[in-house]
């Protein structure tokens, strides 16, 4: 129940006292106090208001006790904040936006941005975040402490970026949400392939951002992408826990409600006429979700979309995905030509998907020995256990 109010509470108290670390601790304490008092005294009429008010008192007490300069600077910051332009965003939500923009500030280490967002915005505990990213809890705790200290020492302002800064800063926020999702969608390590709770958090963040920034098509595009991708969750693992390829998934197990919403959102975003990478990726996902069977997939459209995506993200990963799409629409030889032109890129050397893609194309061309070598190269890069099992199975099936 507290998680529903966490973001708003931390945001409001940070705005009021001018110190993120103190605000977050105070909200934590207020929740503990609520847990102790509400069962006996009853839940207040406005739980969020109670939490914010209680947390503010605790925060101000602490700042007074510690006699930090932050208190006086907070006065100054509050006066400046009052002069901020409304920029068309709903009143009262500026603080929540300010909080996520602060947590995702480019001056912070990228890993720290993810952890800080999960902590301050989503309300996950340090233990939960550490477990999600497979680092020891003290390590994650240190990372969060350092990030909050950097915010204070470097003078990172608590506010929503202005018009000219917004595109770059928003891009950083969307990247964090996307990272949270991809970590949940396909965990980089450990034995559990899918961490559904991280996917849920990412979707929750994307939904909130869409509500806060309805005029930003990339935000809507990201939400669409996450919904369309997560809709496949139940079909992605076999009963034995092995990874099931998109082409082989039981599409009856896809969540149609999420797909319908995702497809609607893609169209809504594209109508705004400002395309971008997340919208394009969502459109690609919609091509898959719109196909009743794998054979019905419009690979030509997907290849075109990857061709568009490459203009925004000229990475070899995107080129490799385009190669696969071209292979599916024009035949494996054509796809292999594209893959071979990107294979030399050093960034792909440790990316198992490249070798898997090559292996599948070589296999379809009947070049068995090379296909086996590519499978083995993929295995040698030590992908997660369920992916290794999939590769082993493909090699056995020959």
């Amino acid at each position: 129940m507290f998680r529903a109010h966490w973001w708003a509470a931390v945001a409001a108290v940070t705005r009021q006292v001018g110190d993120l670390e103190v605000a977050e601790d105070a909200v934590q304490d207020a929740c503990a106090a609520a847990l102790a008092q509400w069962p006996a005294e009853g839940v207040p009429a406005s739980p969020r208001g109670w939490l914010i008010g209680t947390a503010r008192h605790k925060a101000l007490d602490r700042l007074r006790r510690e006699r930090r300069r932050a208190c006086r600077e907070a006065e100054a910051m509050r006066e400046e904040a009052a002069a901020l332009p409304a920029s068309g965003w709903a009143a009262g939500t500026d603080d929540e936006l300010a909080l996520i923009f602060t947590c995702c500030h480019p001056a912070l280490d990228p890993a720290a941005r993810v952890g800080l967002t999960l902590r301050c915005v989503c309300g996950l505990t340090t233990a939960e975040i550490a477990a999600a990213f497979l680092v020891p809890e003290p390590t994650m705790a240190q990372r969060l402490v350092r990030a909050k200290r950097k915010i204070r020492q470097a003078g990172i302002a608590f506010r929503v970026p202005g018009r000219e800064d917004l595109p770059a800063r928003l891009s950083a926020v969307l990247r964090v949400v996307y990272l949270v999702f991809t970590e949940g969608h396909l965990a980089a390590g450990g034995d559990v392939l899918i961490r559904g709770d991280l996917c849920d958090q990412a979707i929750r963040l994307a939904r909130a951002l869409t509500a806060l920034l309805p005029g930003e098509p990339e935000v809507t595009g990201l939400l669409a992408l996450l919904l369309l991708t997560d809709a496949r969750r139940d079909a992605r693992l076999s009963p034995a826990g092995d990874l099931v390829l998109l082409a082989e998934q039981d599409r009856g197990r896809w969540d149609r409600a999420m797909i319908d919403e995702g497809e609607m959102l893609v169209e809504r975003a594209l109508r705004l006429g400002r395309p971008g990478p997340y919208q394009i990726q969502a459109a690609i996902a919609a091509c898959h979700s719109g196909a009743a069977t794998a054979a019905d997939t419009d690979w030509r459209e997907i290849a075109l979309l990857y061709g568009e995506l490459i203009r925004y993200e000229p990475s070899p990963m995107v080129a490799a995905n385009r190669a696969v799409a071209v292979a599916m629409s024009e035949g494996p030889a054509a796809g292999l030509v594209i893959l071979d032109t990107v294979s030399g890129d050093a960034r792909l050397a440790r990316w198992p998907q490249l070798y898997i893609a090559r292996a599948e194309l070589l296999r379809r061309l009947g070049r068995r020995a090379e296909a086996v070598a590519a499978y083995e190269a993929a295995v040698a890069l030590e992908p997660p256990a369920p992916e290794r099992a999939y590769l082993a199975r493909r090699m056995r099936e020959w």
């Binding site: 006699r67 300069r69 100054a76 400046e80 001056a107 470097a154 003078g155 990172i156 302002a157 970026p161």
Partner: protein
């Protein structure tokens, strides 16, 4: 308002151009433009280029004994060539100004906040 120091780093081979050359004039113009803008914006407190690292002497005092070494304190490839001291509303503003410096184009600029030291007279009573 927060004070920031910009630490200007160039590449290892960086030398200041010879006075009187075209290159020197161009460098002076670029720097003049950048610092002039900061001055007009009211953020510039101080700035100066430094003599090269070879001109430095490093001082350490250990066990009451003062030890001097010829050269800079840090053994780094990059040449720490100058500093700029500004006072800005927050980090975003400081970063924007740092990006306008010529050193940011050819080398690196480190943006370090200055510790706000509370003078004894300013400390709250009690």
């Amino acid at each position: 308002m927060v004070k920031y120091m910009f630490l200007l780093y160039g590449g290892p081979g960086d030398q200041l151009p010879e006075p009187g050359t075209d290159e020197f004039e161009r460098m002076r113009a670029e720097w003049g433009a950048a610092t002039g803008a900061m001055e007009r914006a009211g953020v510039l407190l101080d700035c100066a280029p430094l003599q090269p690292p070879a001109a430095a002497t490093t001082v350490r005092v250990r066990d009451g004994e003062t030890l001097l070494t010829d050269g800079p304190a840090a053994e780094i490839k990059e040449h720490f060539g100058g500093y700029t001291l500004v006072e800005c509303a927050d980090l975003d503003e400081a970063l924007k100004w740092a990006a306008t410096l010529p050193a940011a184009q050819v080398g690196k600029v480190e943006v370090r906040p200055v510790v706000q030291v509370v003078a004894p007279a300013e400390q709250p009573a009690g």
